[in-house]
Each structure stands twice: as C-alpha cells, then as structure tokens.
Symmetry: C2
C-alpha cells in the first residue's frame, strides 16, 4: 500500500528511513501526508527530508491534477475575482481547482497542510495569507510550488508573490481629485497591518505633498475593508462643519459605505462630496452613482500567480515578485468641488 | 503500480478481467480513470463493470478528500452563490472543493469524467447541467454519488436534484403587483428551454388568471438571463403608448436591465413602472432603487445538495428530489401604479 517514489530519489528515502530508525513505509506516509505516524516521528522525518535536500522529482501529472487555491473567505467580491483568475488558467492547463476558504483563520491550519500533501497538487496559490516557515518547507520538500496573491504582510524574499501597485494607485486617486480642484481631501483607509492599506495611504499623502497641501490628521479615518466601516467613518468626516469636499477610500466597499453616509446626511454625491474607491469589483459599477475607482487587476493578478506557480515546477524563474499596474476608472461619483 | 481495491470486490474484478480477456491491471486503469487503455477495451470493461452490478465499496475517505462541483461559469453571481453553499458544507465535512466550470459547454466532456474518476471524489454536485447516461453509469459503478442543483431540463426520476419553487415564486411576484393595484403587468422571461423559466412564467399567468385578468401576449418578452436582454425587452415594452405599469422579470439581471431601460426613457422606478426580479443575488440589494425580488435560496439549495450527496454514500435516501421555498423580498422598486 505504500508508494515510495520510483527512480533516483529512492536511495535518499532509504537513507532517511535508516537514520530516523523507521520503515520506508513510514517515510512514505510522512511524504504523502497520510495518517498513522506519531507527531514526533513525523517531525523527525520532515527534518531529515529537509536536511538531505530531498525534493521529489516526478513526471508532470496527467490532465486532471489539482491546483490548490486558499482564499480568505468566499463572501467578498475580491475573493471571487481571484477564484475566477486562478480557475481560468488552471482549466486552460488541463488541471482542476481545489478551493479552500480560511474562514476566521489568518493562516491555513495543520489539517490543511496534511490534506494538501495527500492530494499532491501541481501548485498552491494563496490569496493574501502567508504560510508558516514549516509549511513552506513541507511544500518545497515535495516540490510543490506556491505563490501568494496580494501578500498581506511582508513575505520573505524567497516567497513568490504577485501584487498591485497600491502606492501608485493612491497617488492616482488623489491626483484625480486635485485635478478636479479639490483641496480638502479626506482619506478612509483599510487595516494598517495590511501592506496594501499602508501603501495606498502613502500614495494619498505623497500626492497631497506634491500639490503643496498638508495631510490633515483630522481628515483621516480608517477601519476594516467593509461597507459598515465606510459608513461609520463617512458619517464622522461628513458631519464636520468644515467637512471635506472629497474622500479617497481604501476599497470599494468602504466607498459605498461613505456614499450611504452622505445620502443619510442629505448630501449629494458628487454634487456635495466626491468619492473614490479602490479595487473596481462588480458593485462599483452597479452603484448609483457608479463609483469612480482605482482598478486593481485582480483576475489578472490571479492569472499571473497561477502561471508563475505552474512555471516554477520547471525550475526557477527570474521574476517571482511582481506588482501589476493599477489604473483610474472615472465614473459618476467624482466632480469639481461645490462652489462656496 | 496498479491498485485493485482490496476485499470482497476483488473476485468480481478478476472475473471481469477474465471475461474481457485483459489483465487485472487494465481493469484497474479503467476503474481509476487512468490512461493507457484503448477506447474499445475501455468501453468493454465499463460494460462488464455495469452488467456485473459492480460498485466499489470503500471505507469513508480520510479528511482531505474532494467534493467535485461543476458550475456553468464563474461569471454569474448565481454560480458564486452555489459555490459558497457547496464550499461551506464541504469544509464542515472535512473535505475540499474541486471546482470545474463548463464554459461554453452544456455538459461536462470526456476529459472531465476521466479526471473525476482519477481524483476519486467523495461526491459530485452539478449546477444546472445534466450528466449523460454514460457518465451517470460510470459514477454509479464507482459508487460516487451525484446531485444536480436547479436542474435545467427534466432529469430522469432516479437523478437526485434540488431546485426551488419557481412556479410558486412567479405567483408570489405577480400577486404582490396585483395587491398594489396593478392591472397591466408585463413579463420578461428567461430561456424557454429552461424548466425554471417556464415555471416562473406559468406562475405569472396563473396569478393573472386567478385575478380574472388576461395574459396579454403583447406584454410578454423574453431573452437570455442577462442585463442586456432585460434592457432590450424593457425598451420594447416601455416604449409602447399603452405601456405596462409593472414588469415581472425572469431574474435579477434582467430586472436591472429593465430599470436601465426605464431610466433611459426618462421613466421613474417605481413612480412610473414597478419592477420585480427573481433570485435575490447581491446586485439586487445594491441597485438604486433596491430591487424587489423573489428570493431563491441558492446557497441553501447548494448546501442541501451537498448534504444529500454525502448522505447518499451511506445508502439510499427517501427524498432526493426537493424544491426549496422561494420568498418575496419587498424593497424599493415596486409601488402602486401611477394615477392617470
């Protein structure tokens, strides 16, 4: 029932079994993520696999193999765009998408990695979340390439990652408002522990500085990337006597929330206040007024990540850290400031 | 390398190999969807497997096994809701979702079925599309249960299927408008080859008949389930001198298109014309005015389909044909007719 890989790597596995004082079948169980091995033995074998520089060399799988995608959750439009991109390239390559959602966790758990090892996917794509060093090592030992789409934190330099030009996007959104004549421009940002949030705010501040305008801390709000948080921060900013004439938002959902707040306060968008989103997910164009936003090419990012992962199987690539360009999409939620 | 199943079924496979005059390894290849078998041999072995009443009896797989979901495409909100429902139950059961999109095809192709057999999923869920008799037989031989969510056509009675009460939904939508005082109520329907479209129109006609009103053929339009088709049919219906005061639509996207048409013609929704959708996908609540619609419990349907499929592994269930209830969601796109 055990399946030691055929060919050149067999001697290595024999040696590892000997050094670990276990059977070859036990090494095979560890390698393939199968149960029936105690945790200490599993850890010892993993370490020996790593130290020996073992990496499974196998033929490319037949059609029907799996590309594993881990998304944060399935509720956001954001995740749906990522799924669409990964699915397209996966299908074109003759593979099938295996989809996991993290739910409330920030990183895939132990169950997940055992499942992955037993399913033997051709590649792993992670939205947003990072893998622990241990999980990265386990995937490398099995020669399973992985790529992160839009990394949340600051992944180690050897982790392939595909992002978007968030900082440049923040500049573009703010310059658009400056060009329309706005001078009191507020910002509602996303969670500060996410690199993309910080980069967008940085772009906003830089565009203001370029125009010789201060970034007024009283005009800065923030929260989760949700419509509810956008509405709360929108109400706070727009309820001020010296309210801003424009608001740059961390994402589209926040921007929709800011518009909700404006309407609730009896303000017109864009007559009284201009609003800019970020992402260009579907609700941005469905909104009324349709939302001016910075398009993040989410599907394309997911496609590039998947292609990169599939190519990594064939050897190292030169560029596994990329940022794809964002672009301004002007719709109906921005206009010159009201004349006073 | 061949993996004949252990235990009681082994003699059956030996007998099949003998009768087909092939090796046991060849039978195993056919059973597990592996290549290296000629098409005629594969067909002969499939037939013998079926005739012998063979059905693989295996232990429940460990955590990490796959539930296969086939959706029409990933572009519609509709599919996304189905994915969410199947993913949730799959995850809770300790399995992982394998996602395929049909793209332009109406049925999964030969590549798909070989892939499924080699991946050995614990269950298969199909959105909308039906399997060929041959594919159904192959899955049954491997004891892989399958369930259709919202069947498009009229599947054979032994195919488990979970739908929604489309006819009752059509009645509810139309009664809501009758109760508001409307008498000239138009319908924009979906493709007539889909059972769900026909059932919804049937419900509309029945509610009108109940109220003693004729179903005026001049007030009936139809097309694909798209926003563009909704706009085209909306323009045609609302451009009439004796335009309807309300329109019942085949789905939410058509309803958004009808609203686009109304606005383009300078009409107010719901002041001049009331609009009702069907499905209650996310854009219905994002629209302005927010759309009154008939909620189809898509996620719940997908969840019930997945639970049914997983339970089918343990033996036959009594009820594998269910329609879940639809319900009216009243928002801002319906009001009494304008006074003339």
């Amino acid at each position: 029932m055990s399946e030691p890989p055929a060919g050149p790597s067999r001697p290595t596995l024999d040696a590892i079994a000997q050094r670990a004082a276990v059977s070859l079948s036990t090494v095979s169980k560890v390698l393939n993520g199968r149960p029936g091995v105690s945790a200490p033995t599993r850890a010892r074998v993993e370490e020996l696999l790593h130290d020996s520089g073992y990496a499974r060399r196998g033929a490319l799988p037949e059609r029907g193999g799996l590309v594993e995608l881990v998304v944060a959750d399935l509720l956001s439009e954001w995740s749906v765009e990522i799924i669409r991109g990964v699915e397209r390239i996966t299908r074109e390559a003759g593979f099938v998408l295996a989809l996991s959602a993290l739910g409330d966790h920030l990183e895939p758990g132990g169950d997940w990695i055992s499942g992955v090892l037993s399913r033997k996917p051709v590649a792993v794509i992670l939205q947003f979340s990072n893998l622990t060093a241990e999980h990265r090592q386990r995937l490398r030992t099995r020669n399973i390439p992985f790529v992160v789409v839009d990394p949340a934190g600051d992944p180690p330099p050897d982790v392939p990652a595909i992002g978007a030009t968030n900082w440049a996007g923040g500049v573009t959104a703010t310059r658009h408002l400056l060009d329309l004549g706005h001078e009191r421009i507020a910002v509602v940002s996303g969670p500060p522990d996410l690199m993309c949030s910080r980069a967008r705010v940085g772009g906003y501040q830089s565009a203001l500085a370029e125009a010789g305008l201060p970034a007024d801390p009283a005009l800065a709000g923030g929260g989760e990337f949700s419509r509810a948080d956008g509405e709360r921060e929108g109400r706070r900013l727009l309820d001020r006597a010296d309210r801003p004439t424009a608001i740059v938002c961390g994402n589209d959902l926040q921007a929709l929330g800011v518009m909700d707040a404006a309407f609730a306060l009896g303000l017109d968008v864009p007559g009284d206040v201009s609003v800019v989103g970020f992402d260009d997910v579907a609700p941005a164009s469905w909104a009324r007024p349709a939302l001016t936003t910075v398009r993040q090419p989410l599907q394309e990012m997911a496609e590039v990540a998947t292609r990169t992962a599939l190519r990594l199987r064939d050897g190292d690539l030169e560029n596994t850290r990329l940022e794809l360009a964002t672009s301004l999409v002007v719709r109906d939620s921005t206009a010159p400031p009201p004349t006073r």
